[in-house]
């Protein structure tokens, strides 16, 4: 039995996620779209906190909300005149996309609900991982160590830095 506060928090977050997701893809102002995305990301971060993954939640806020959305905003401001609405999307395109998305959602939802008892799992008590333990796992080479992907990601980031420099350089 969850605490009432938790349940209320869940419903608020779920509502924010659903509403903001829909708004993100339906609003005609791109800057607003980015803002709604920001809300969705914040809400997701709250779920992470709720799941007892405070580190992950912090990363979500710092990287996604603090980094990526800011990048989006920069890009939008560089490429758009503010306050100008995007063109209205023609209706066939919209309906086609909606049908496709709904079909996909329906298929996945069917899958979810047909495994209802499996999906009805309750939240069990879990060990709350400290930052120190997470750090050790990230840099360990043991069975559950993540050194190799960690290094791979660092190489990827380096490649991205170089790629970004090369792409953005004026010729």
């Amino acid at each position: 039995m969850e605490s009432l506060g938790n349940i209320i928090l869940y419903f608020v977050v779920a509502l924010v996620i659903i509403v903001c997701s829909v708004l993100t893809v339906t609003t005609r102002q791109i800057l607003r779209s980015a803002t709604y995305l920001l809300f969705v990301l914040f809400a997701t971060a709250i779920i992470y906190f709720q799941m007892d993954y405070p580190f992950l939640g912090a990363v979500q806020i710092a990287v996604y909300a603090g980094g990526i959305v800011v990048l989006f905003v920069f890009a939008i401001l560089l490429t758009h005149q503010p306050g100008k609405d995007a063109q209205r999307i023609d209706s066939t395109r919209r309906i086609l996309g909606a049908v496709a998305a709904l079909l996909g959602v329906a298929a996945c939802g069917f899958g979810l609900f047909s495994y209802a008892n499996f999906c009805g799992r309750q939240l069990a008590e879990a060990h709350s991982w400290s930052i120190e333990e997470i750090g050790k796992f990230l840099l360990s080479t043991d069975k559950f160590g993540y050194l190799l992907p960690f290094e791979a990601v660092s190489v990827l980031l380096l490649a991205c830095i170089i790629g970004g420099v090369v792409i953005a350089r004026r010729r």
Binding site: S21, Y53, V59, Q60, A86, L96
Partner: protein, 103 residues
């Protein structure tokens, strides 16, 4: 009332569906990227809740999410750099009008 696994998966699914819709309908490349981020985020969320509900003693799902966030950041940075570069050349970011390289 209990918070079950399903209750977290449903918002995630809707988020994903919105991402698909946005990806299919939007013309603005940056909007398409935003939709992409939505989808990615929904997947991240799935990883976390599955990890938390099914294997509370481990944290592989969390690490996957961590790496996915890192990669998403990298990907977004490069993609936006490309988009801005394209904008510099073509003065537009509309995906339907950039057809110079077609065929």
């Amino acid at each position: 009332m209990n918070l079950t696994l399903l209750m977290y998966l449903v918002p995630s699914l809707i988020m994903f569906g919105c991402g698909v819709y946005g990806f299919l309908t939007r013309k603005n490349m940056i909007a398409i990227m935003i939709s992409l981020e939505l989808m990615l985020n929904s997947v991240d969320l799935n990883f976390v809740v599955f990890n938390r509900y099914l294997f509370p003693g481990q944290m592989d799902g969390m690490f996957f999410t961590l790496f996915a966030i890192a990669i998403a950041a990298a990907e977004t940075a490069v993609a936006l750099a490309i988009i801005i570069n394209v904008f510099r050349v073509a003065r537009k970011v509309d995906i339907n009008e950039l057809i110079k390289l077609k065929f």
